[in-house]
Amino acid sequence: MNLLKKINPVFIVLALLIIAIAVLSPHFLQPTGYMNFLKRAAPIVILAIGQLYVINSGGFDLSAGALVTLTVIGSSILLDGDPSATWWVIGVMFAIGIVVGCANALVVSYLKVPSIIATLGMMITLSGIALTWSGGAPRGYLPENFRFFGRFLIKDLPLIKILPVALIVMVVICALLWWLMHRTNYGKQLVAMGDNPYSARLAGVPLVRTRMIAFVVSALTAVMAGILLGGFAGVSTDVGVGLELQAITAAVIGGAQLLGGRGSVGATVAGALVLQAIFTLLNILGFPKPIRDVVQGLILISAVALASYRRRKSGG
């Protein structure tokens, strides 16, 4: 029982949801069922971890969704169906991600603009760039080797039968970002900064650099999510809409505290999977898609309210 108290409730909720889905839809227990679930969830998981970095630093990154869209549209236009260009285009996209992340961090640090507004402005700017670049309609085409990451399934494996490449990408990135957050000095500095920027600065934490790394991580996860989502369905002008909000919801479900503090990568991953599982459950139960928005809205508000209630009770 003591052990149960220590486990973040999000893992228990996830387990219950998976059981519920499996009961209602036996197809889920087949590899085509659960592997496709994980493949669909991978972009959100990655995005949520990136968002966690920024949340832990005490801010928000509302530009993530727009960066996803820009990645998909930009890659599609630059590649125009040419498979030999894939690698350098992906490189360009990562470079854009780094620039966006740095820009966000600099605006927050030096122009003293709250991250909400800074990233909101960046979101509008990025979607404006995507629209101007594409002229408002999907253009170009994503070749098969670009779509490899988001769409390809390694087939004929023993036991699990199929393995989506997206899942491999997700695991690798999760492991990397978990290590960065929980096993390095940087991670500790990040949490300290989010908790109390004044005392962090007094303790010698380099605020600007720490913040910059957090925003760059968030931007890079957005680019990666864009590559996966572009692979999944091809070029789309709507693909990133609302994703940053889903990422924030996932992080909050996982126990991250808004305006700084304590989230963990593992719990955030579980939070993203919980969100995806809830959507899947709603789908299986036959609820129309807009109900997902309602549910997400309710979850977002209650999760934050609950966290803030717990914080008040414990005197934090």
Binding site: L111, I116, I124, T125
Partner: protein
């Protein structure tokens, strides 16, 4: 001495920005030989394009003055428009009940927003984004298309003219004046400034902060529903996407901020917001006259929002989140 200079500067800044934007507009029109854009009709029409934004932004001003924010306005506009056109269904006798019901919905949504922010202590960004999702979800689950229609008589709001000036423009100016009177001359109005400036000090001074915050949110949501009514009048019917299409949530914040109302609360006012609306309208038209890609406008908007906040925030020394 410094304080006085600061206050004057901040109050006048949006006015200078407006002059600059206007000057650019006239300059480009003359330079490209498109003087038909400089007729009186056209200039009046400039503001007329942004009536819905203007009404929404007046509401957003209240909320930002109180150091909160409301990102649910766009979807609330859609709800108001759809509800109004659905209830009216082309029947003139249903016009008044529809308007009353819609405004009551606005009061309800605003109250919920305000209570979630004050009682549940949820960050206003999250609270109103959550509400936005809720509204969008409920609306889209019930309506996938234009719903009902607005009787021709109701379209007077959007298309009518009194003495050559459009009814909607007069309405916007009247609303702004009303809001200004409320903020400047009533006790509740000055409470909004106090609570926005420093909520803790206000509470210690005995002001009912919760009530004031909830009221500000209610005023914001009611303005959003009025904007929805105007749009229903203009389009002839309401649809679940018109709020999102117009990006009223982000644009209303942008316009308020450009108008000099500080995001940290306690400073600014509705005339500044109206100037912000005009500046944005001019920007739209400058792009049209100059023949620049309409999408590039959006890039500029994003940059302007950040620049405006940075400009006004340069005086604060807080370590921001």
């Amino acid at each position: 001495m410094n304080l006085i200079k600061n206050k004057n500067f901040l109050a006048l800044a949006p006015f200078f920005l407006l002059l600059a934007a206007f000057g650019t507009y006239v300059g480009i029109a003359l330079a490209t030989n498109q003087t038909q854009y400089l007729t009186f009709d056209n200039l009046i029409g400039l503001l007329g394009r942004s009536i819905a934004l203007g009404i929404t932004a007046i509401g957003q001003t209240f909320v930002i003055l109180i150091a909160s924010i409301d990102l649910s306005v766009a979807n609330l506009i859609s709800v108001a428009a759809v509800l109004a056109s659905y209830i009216m269904s082309g029947d003139t006798t249903m016009m008044v009940p529809a308007v009353i019901i819609v405004i009551l919905v606005g009061v309800f949504v605003g109250a919920v927003n305000g209570l979630v922010v004050t009682q549940l202590e949820v960050n206003p960004l999250i609270a109103t984004l959550g509400m936005a999702l809720l509204l969008q979800g409920v609306l889209s689950a019930l309506f996938t298309n234009f719903a009902g229609e607005v009787p021709k008589e109701f379209q007077v709001l959007a298309y009518g003219e009194i003495g050559g000036v459009s009814v909607s423009l007069l309405f916007l100016i009247a609303l702004t004046a009303l809001a200004w009177v409320f903020l400047k001359f009533t006790k509740v109005g000055s409470n909004i400034y106090s609570v926005g400036g420093n909520a803790d000090a206000a509470k210690l001074a005995g002001l009912r902060t919760t009530r004031t915050i909830v009221l500000a949110h209610i005023l914001c949501s009611v303005c959003a529903t009025i904007a929805g009514l105007y749009l229903a009048s203009r389009l002839g019917s309401g649809a679940p996407w018109i709020g999102r299409d117009g990006v009223y949530d982000l644009e209303s914040i942008a316009v308020v901020v450009i108008g000099g109302t500080a995001l940290s609360g306690g400073r600014g006012g509705v005339w500044g917001t109206l100037m912000g609306v005009m500046i944005f309208s001019l920007l739209d038209s400058i792009f049209n006259v100059a023949g620049v890609d309409a999408f590039a406008k959006q890039i500029l908007r994003g940059v302007i929002i950040v620049a405006a906040v940075a400009f006004y925030a340069a005086r604060s020394r807080r370590i921001e989140a």
